[in-house]
Subunit: 158 residues, 2 copies
Amino acid sequence: MPHKKAQNLEIDNLDIQILSILMNNATTPYTEIAKELIVSGGTIHVRMKKLEEMGVIKGASLEVDPQKLGFDITAFLGIYLEKGSQYNEAVKRLKEVKEIVELYYTTGSWSIFAKIVCHDTTHLREVLNERIQSVPGIQRTETFISLEESVKRQISLD
Amino acid sequence: MPHKKAQNLEIDNLDIQILSILMNNATTPYTEIAKELIVSGGTIHVRMKKLEEMGVIKGASLEVDPQKLGFDITAFLGIYLEKGSQYNEAVKRLKEVKEIVELYYTTGSWSIFAKIVCHDTTHLREVLNERIQSVPGIQRTETFISLEESVKRQISLD
DNA sequence: GTTGAAAAGTGCTGCGA
DNA sequence: TCGCAGCACTTTTCAAC
Protein backbone atom coordinates (compact mmCIF):
# COMPACT_ATOMS: atom_id res chain seq x y z
CA MET A 1 0.00 0.00 0.00
CA PRO A 2 1.17 3.55 -0.68
CA HIS A 3 2.48 5.58 2.18
CA LYS A 4 4.30 8.84 2.82
CA LYS A 5 8.03 9.03 3.08
CA ALA A 6 9.14 8.02 6.53
CA GLN A 7 9.85 11.01 8.73
CA ASN A 8 10.97 11.59 12.24
CA LEU A 9 8.07 13.53 13.68
CA GLU A 10 9.22 13.60 17.25
CA ILE A 11 10.42 16.68 19.04
CA ASP A 12 13.73 16.13 20.77
CA ASN A 13 15.84 18.24 23.06
CA LEU A 14 17.66 19.98 20.19
CA ASP A 15 14.34 21.16 18.71
CA ILE A 16 13.32 22.58 22.07
CA GLN A 17 16.60 24.45 22.40
CA ILE A 18 16.28 25.92 18.90
CA LEU A 19 12.71 27.04 19.63
CA SER A 20 13.71 28.57 22.95
CA ILE A 21 16.31 30.76 21.26
CA LEU A 22 14.06 31.84 18.40
CA MET A 23 11.03 32.51 20.60
CA ASN A 24 13.00 35.22 22.36
CA ASN A 25 14.54 36.66 19.21
CA ALA A 26 13.23 35.46 15.88
CA THR A 27 16.03 37.20 13.97
CA THR A 28 18.86 35.16 15.49
CA PRO A 29 20.91 33.82 12.51
CA TYR A 30 20.96 30.04 12.06
CA THR A 31 24.76 30.12 12.11
CA GLU A 32 24.74 31.65 15.57
CA ILE A 33 22.24 29.09 16.89
CA ALA A 34 24.38 26.33 15.38
CA LYS A 35 27.49 27.65 17.11
CA GLU A 36 25.71 27.88 20.45
CA LEU A 37 24.27 24.35 20.27
CA ILE A 38 27.42 22.89 18.67
CA VAL A 39 25.81 21.52 15.49
CA SER A 40 26.00 22.60 11.84
CA GLY A 41 23.89 25.32 10.27
CA GLY A 42 22.35 22.73 7.97
CA THR A 43 21.02 20.79 10.94
CA ILE A 44 19.22 23.88 12.26
CA HIS A 45 17.68 24.29 8.83
CA VAL A 46 16.46 20.68 8.69
CA ARG A 47 14.97 20.89 12.18
CA MET A 48 13.20 24.16 11.45
CA LYS A 49 11.71 22.69 8.29
CA LYS A 50 10.44 19.70 10.28
CA LEU A 51 8.91 21.95 12.95
CA GLU A 52 7.20 24.05 10.30
CA GLU A 53 5.77 20.97 8.59
CA MET A 54 4.53 19.68 11.93
CA GLY A 55 2.74 22.97 12.50
CA VAL A 56 4.64 23.65 15.70
CA ILE A 57 5.85 26.93 14.21
CA LYS A 58 2.94 29.13 13.14
CA GLY A 59 5.01 32.07 11.95
CA ALA A 60 7.06 35.04 13.04
CA SER A 61 5.65 38.40 14.02
CA LEU A 62 7.01 41.84 14.73
CA GLU A 63 6.37 43.11 18.24
CA VAL A 64 5.51 46.79 18.42
CA ASP A 65 4.82 49.20 21.27
CA PRO A 66 1.11 50.09 20.94
CA GLN A 67 1.50 53.26 23.02
CA LYS A 68 4.13 54.67 20.66
CA LEU A 69 1.66 54.17 17.82
CA GLY A 70 -1.10 56.04 19.61
CA PHE A 71 -2.90 53.09 21.19
CA ASP A 72 -3.05 54.09 24.84
CA ILE A 73 -5.74 51.79 26.22
CA THR A 74 -5.67 48.04 26.67
CA ALA A 75 -8.85 46.60 28.17
CA PHE A 76 -10.37 43.22 28.93
CA LEU A 77 -13.99 42.39 28.32
CA GLY A 78 -16.14 39.77 29.95
CA ILE A 79 -19.13 39.19 27.67
CA TYR A 80 -22.45 37.62 28.73
CA LEU A 81 -24.48 35.90 26.02
CA GLU A 82 -28.26 35.38 26.24
CA LYS A 83 -27.75 31.77 25.19
CA GLY A 84 -24.50 29.82 24.94
CA SER A 85 -25.58 28.52 21.55
CA GLN A 86 -25.11 32.00 20.11
CA TYR A 87 -21.34 31.75 20.49
CA ASN A 88 -20.42 31.01 16.90
CA GLU A 89 -22.62 33.75 15.47
CA ALA A 90 -21.37 36.30 18.00
CA VAL A 91 -17.71 35.44 17.32
CA LYS A 92 -18.29 35.87 13.60
CA ARG A 93 -19.54 39.40 14.23
CA LEU A 94 -16.88 40.24 16.81
CA LYS A 95 -14.09 39.18 14.43
CA GLU A 96 -15.04 42.17 12.30
CA VAL A 97 -14.24 44.51 15.19
CA LYS A 98 -10.58 45.29 14.44
CA GLU A 99 -9.91 46.60 17.96
CA ILE A 100 -10.43 43.11 19.39
CA VAL A 101 -7.02 41.44 19.33
CA GLU A 102 -7.80 38.29 21.32
CA LEU A 103 -11.01 36.36 21.91
CA TYR A 104 -11.62 33.23 23.97
CA TYR A 105 -14.51 30.93 24.84
CA THR A 106 -14.16 30.47 28.58
CA THR A 107 -15.58 28.66 31.57
CA GLY A 108 -16.94 30.74 34.46
CA SER A 109 -19.18 33.82 34.61
CA TRP A 110 -18.82 34.89 31.00
CA SER A 111 -19.22 33.06 27.73
CA ILE A 112 -16.69 35.18 25.88
CA PHE A 113 -13.56 36.89 27.08
CA ALA A 114 -11.81 39.44 24.88
CA LYS A 115 -8.79 41.70 24.84
CA ILE A 116 -9.20 45.04 23.15
CA VAL A 117 -6.77 47.82 22.20
CA CYS A 118 -7.97 51.41 21.62
CA HIS A 119 -6.56 54.90 21.04
CA ASP A 120 -8.28 56.60 24.01
CA THR A 121 -11.37 56.46 26.22
CA THR A 122 -13.55 58.03 23.53
CA HIS A 123 -12.48 55.34 21.10
CA LEU A 124 -13.11 52.62 23.71
CA ARG A 125 -16.61 53.92 24.41
CA GLU A 126 -17.42 54.01 20.71
CA VAL A 127 -16.25 50.43 20.19
CA LEU A 128 -18.14 49.18 23.25
CA ASN A 129 -21.43 50.99 22.70
CA GLU A 130 -21.70 51.02 18.96
CA ARG A 131 -19.91 47.92 17.76
CA ILE A 132 -19.90 45.35 20.54
CA GLN A 133 -23.16 45.93 22.44
CA SER A 134 -25.02 45.91 19.13
CA VAL A 135 -24.02 42.33 18.31
CA PRO A 136 -27.11 40.05 18.54
CA GLY A 137 -27.07 37.77 21.58
CA ILE A 138 -24.77 39.92 23.68
CA GLN A 139 -26.56 40.71 26.92
CA ARG A 140 -24.04 42.86 28.75
CA THR A 141 -20.30 43.29 29.18
CA GLU A 142 -17.89 43.96 32.01
CA THR A 143 -14.81 46.05 31.27
CA PHE A 144 -11.43 45.96 32.99
CA ILE A 145 -8.86 48.51 31.97
CA SER A 146 -5.17 47.65 32.15
CA LEU A 147 -3.20 50.32 33.99
CA GLU A 148 0.10 48.52 33.57
CA GLU A 149 1.44 45.56 31.63
CA SER A 150 3.96 43.99 34.01
CA VAL A 151 4.65 40.71 32.23
CA LYS A 152 4.41 39.82 28.53
CA ARG A 153 6.44 36.83 27.44
CA GLN A 154 6.39 33.47 25.73
CA ILE A 155 5.96 30.11 27.45
CA SER A 156 9.17 28.67 28.83
CA LEU A 157 10.04 25.33 27.25
CA ASP A 158 12.61 24.30 29.86
CA MET B 1 25.01 74.36 23.43
CA PRO B 2 25.59 70.74 22.43
CA HIS B 3 22.74 68.81 20.92
CA LYS B 4 22.06 65.48 19.24
CA LYS B 5 22.14 65.07 15.51
CA ALA B 6 18.87 66.22 14.00
CA GLN B 7 16.56 63.30 13.18
CA ASN B 8 13.10 62.93 11.84
CA LEU B 9 11.33 61.18 14.68
CA GLU B 10 7.86 61.30 13.25
CA ILE B 11 5.96 58.30 12.00
CA ASP B 12 4.54 58.82 8.55
CA ASN B 13 2.29 56.78 6.32
CA LEU B 14 5.17 54.81 4.81
CA ASP B 15 6.30 53.67 8.27
CA ILE B 16 2.76 52.51 9.07
CA GLN B 17 2.57 50.53 5.83
CA ILE B 18 5.93 48.86 6.49
CA LEU B 19 4.85 47.93 10.02
CA SER B 20 1.51 46.58 8.81
CA ILE B 21 3.24 44.17 6.44
CA LEU B 22 5.84 43.00 8.94
CA MET B 23 3.36 42.61 11.82
CA ASN B 24 1.58 39.95 9.80
CA ASN B 25 4.73 38.24 8.59
CA ALA B 26 8.02 39.28 10.13
CA THR B 27 10.02 37.29 7.57
CA THR B 28 8.91 39.32 4.53
CA PRO B 29 12.13 40.39 2.70
CA TYR B 30 12.84 44.13 2.53
CA THR B 31 13.11 43.88 -1.26
CA GLU B 32 9.56 42.58 -1.47
CA ILE B 33 8.20 45.31 0.82
CA ALA B 34 10.07 47.87 -1.29
CA LYS B 35 8.50 46.57 -4.48
CA GLU B 36 5.02 46.62 -2.96
CA LEU B 37 5.33 50.17 -1.64
CA ILE B 38 7.26 51.40 -4.70
CA VAL B 39 10.37 52.62 -2.87
CA SER B 40 13.93 51.28 -2.75
CA GLY B 41 15.19 48.58 -0.39
CA GLY B 42 17.51 51.10 1.21
CA THR B 43 14.58 53.25 2.28
CA ILE B 44 12.90 50.32 4.05
CA HIS B 45 16.16 49.73 5.87
CA VAL B 46 16.48 53.38 6.98
CA ARG B 47 12.86 53.47 8.19
CA MET B 48 13.22 50.23 10.13
CA LYS B 49 16.35 51.54 11.82
CA LYS B 50 14.50 54.71 12.81
CA LEU B 51 11.54 52.73 14.18
CA GLU B 52 13.89 50.53 16.20
CA GLU B 53 15.70 53.55 17.65
CA MET B 54 12.37 55.13 18.55
CA GLY B 55 11.41 51.96 20.42
CA VAL B 56 8.33 51.42 18.27
CA ILE B 57 9.70 48.00 17.32
CA LYS B 58 10.41 45.91 20.40
CA GLY B 59 11.60 42.82 18.55
CA ALA B 60 10.51 39.84 16.51
CA SER B 61 9.31 36.60 18.00
CA LEU B 62 8.53 33.14 16.72
CA GLU B 63 4.93 32.07 17.17
CA VAL B 64 4.49 28.47 18.21
CA ASP B 65 1.48 26.24 18.80
CA PRO B 66 1.46 25.57 22.58
CA GLN B 67 -0.72 22.47 22.20
CA LYS B 68 1.78 20.79 19.88
CA LEU B 69 4.43 21.33 22.54
CA GLY B 70 2.32 19.71 25.23
CA PHE B 71 0.74 22.83 26.73
CA ASP B 72 -2.97 22.02 26.64
CA ILE B 73 -4.41 24.54 29.09
CA THR B 74 -4.67 28.30 28.81
CA ALA B 75 -6.32 29.98 31.79
CA PHE B 76 -7.00 33.47 33.07
CA LEU B 77 -6.61 34.44 36.70
CA GLY B 78 -8.25 37.27 38.59
CA ILE B 79 -6.17 37.88 41.70
CA TYR B 80 -7.39 39.68 44.85
CA LEU B 81 -4.74 41.38 46.99
CA GLU B 82 -5.21 42.11 50.71
CA LYS B 83 -3.93 45.64 50.10
CA GLY B 84 -3.35 47.41 46.80
CA SER B 85 0.02 48.59 48.06
CA GLN B 86 1.31 45.02 47.90
CA TYR B 87 1.20 45.09 44.08
CA ASN B 88 4.89 45.60 43.39
CA GLU B 89 6.02 42.91 45.82
CA ALA B 90 3.45 40.43 44.51
CA VAL B 91 4.43 41.06 40.87
CA LYS B 92 8.07 40.49 41.73
CA ARG B 93 7.17 37.05 43.11
CA LEU B 94 4.75 36.21 40.32
CA LYS B 95 7.37 37.00 37.67
CA GLU B 96 9.27 33.96 38.93
CA VAL B 97 6.33 31.71 38.03
CA LYS B 98 7.29 30.71 34.48
CA GLU B 99 3.77 29.54 33.62
CA ILE B 100 2.49 33.12 33.85
CA VAL B 101 2.89 34.60 30.37
CA GLU B 102 1.02 37.87 30.84
CA LEU B 103 0.30 40.01 33.90
CA TYR B 104 -1.64 43.27 34.20
CA TYR B 105 -2.57 45.75 36.89
CA THR B 106 -6.25 46.38 36.26
CA THR B 107 -9.25 48.41 37.36
CA GLY B 108 -12.33 46.54 38.60
CA SER B 109 -12.80 43.61 40.96
CA TRP B 110 -9.23 42.33 40.93
CA SER B 111 -5.91 44.01 41.48
CA ILE B 112 -4.02 41.67 39.21
CA PHE B 113 -5.06 39.87 36.08
CA ALA B 114 -2.88 37.12 34.63
CA LYS B 115 -2.75 34.68 31.73
CA ILE B 116 -1.26 31.31 32.44
CA VAL B 117 -0.28 28.35 30.22
CA CYS B 118 0.03 24.80 31.66
CA HIS B 119 0.52 21.22 30.48
CA ASP B 120 -2.63 19.77 32.03
CA THR B 121 -5.07 20.16 34.93
CA THR B 122 -2.62 18.60 37.41
CA HIS B 123 0.00 21.11 36.38
CA LEU B 124 -2.50 23.98 36.66
CA ARG B 125 -3.52 22.89 40.16
CA GLU B 126 0.11 22.68 41.27
CA VAL B 127 0.90 26.17 39.95
CA LEU B 128 -2.23 27.66 41.54
CA ASN B 129 -2.01 26.00 44.94
CA GLU B 130 1.70 25.82 45.52
CA ARG B 131 3.18 28.75 43.67
CA ILE B 132 0.55 31.45 43.31
CA GLN B 133 -1.61 31.15 46.44
CA SER B 134 1.56 31.08 48.55
CA VAL B 135 2.64 34.58 47.43
CA PRO B 136 2.30 37.02 50.39
CA GLY B 137 -0.58 39.45 49.98
CA ILE B 138 -2.64 37.27 47.66
CA GLN B 139 -6.05 36.74 49.24
CA ARG B 140 -7.78 34.55 46.71
CA THR B 141 -7.98 33.94 42.96
CA GLU B 142 -10.65 33.28 40.37
CA THR B 143 -9.81 30.99 37.47
CA PHE B 144 -11.27 31.00 33.96
CA ILE B 145 -10.21 28.27 31.62
CA SER B 146 -10.06 28.94 27.88
CA LEU B 147 -11.90 26.27 25.90
CA GLU B 148 -11.14 27.86 22.56
CA GLU B 149 -8.97 30.64 21.21
CA SER B 150 -11.06 32.20 18.44
CA VAL B 151 -9.07 35.34 17.73
CA LYS B 152 -5.36 36.06 18.19
CA ARG B 153 -3.95 38.87 16.12
CA GLN B 154 -2.07 42.15 16.13
CA ILE B 155 -3.63 45.61 16.26
CA SER B 156 -4.69 46.96 12.89
CA LEU B 157 -2.86 50.18 12.01
CA ASP B 158 -5.21 51.21 9.21
C1' DG C 1 15.38 61.70 2.23
C1' DT C 2 15.80 58.60 -1.47
C1' DT C 3 18.14 55.83 -4.93
C1' DG C 4 20.75 52.06 -7.05
C1' DA C 5 24.47 49.15 -6.95
C1' DA C 6 28.36 46.99 -4.65
C1' DA C 7 29.98 44.42 -0.44
C1' DA C 8 29.08 41.40 3.43
C1' DG C 9 26.54 38.02 5.57
C1' DT C 10 22.90 34.51 5.76
C1' DG C 11 19.92 30.75 3.97
C1' DC C 12 19.50 26.87 1.07
C1' DT C 13 20.85 22.48 -1.55
C1' DG C 14 23.35 18.38 -2.79
C1' DC C 15 27.07 15.28 -2.14
C1' DG C 16 29.79 12.61 0.90
C1' DA C 17 30.51 10.25 5.36
C1' DT D 1 21.11 11.30 9.88
C1' DC D 2 24.55 14.81 10.00
C1' DG D 3 28.26 17.96 8.24
C1' DC D 4 30.65 20.48 4.69
C1' DA D 5 31.03 23.50 0.72
C1' DG D 6 29.15 26.20 -3.13
C1' DC D 7 25.33 28.90 -4.91
C1' DA D 8 21.34 32.09 -4.45
C1' DC D 9 19.31 35.52 -1.97
C1' DT D 10 18.94 39.21 1.49
C1' DT D 11 20.65 42.76 4.26
C1' DT D 12 23.64 46.49 4.78
C1' DT D 13 26.41 50.21 3.35
C1' DC D 14 27.57 54.31 0.65
C1' DA D 15 28.31 57.79 -2.91
C1' DA D 16 25.36 60.57 -5.70
C1' DC D 17 20.98 62.85 -6.65
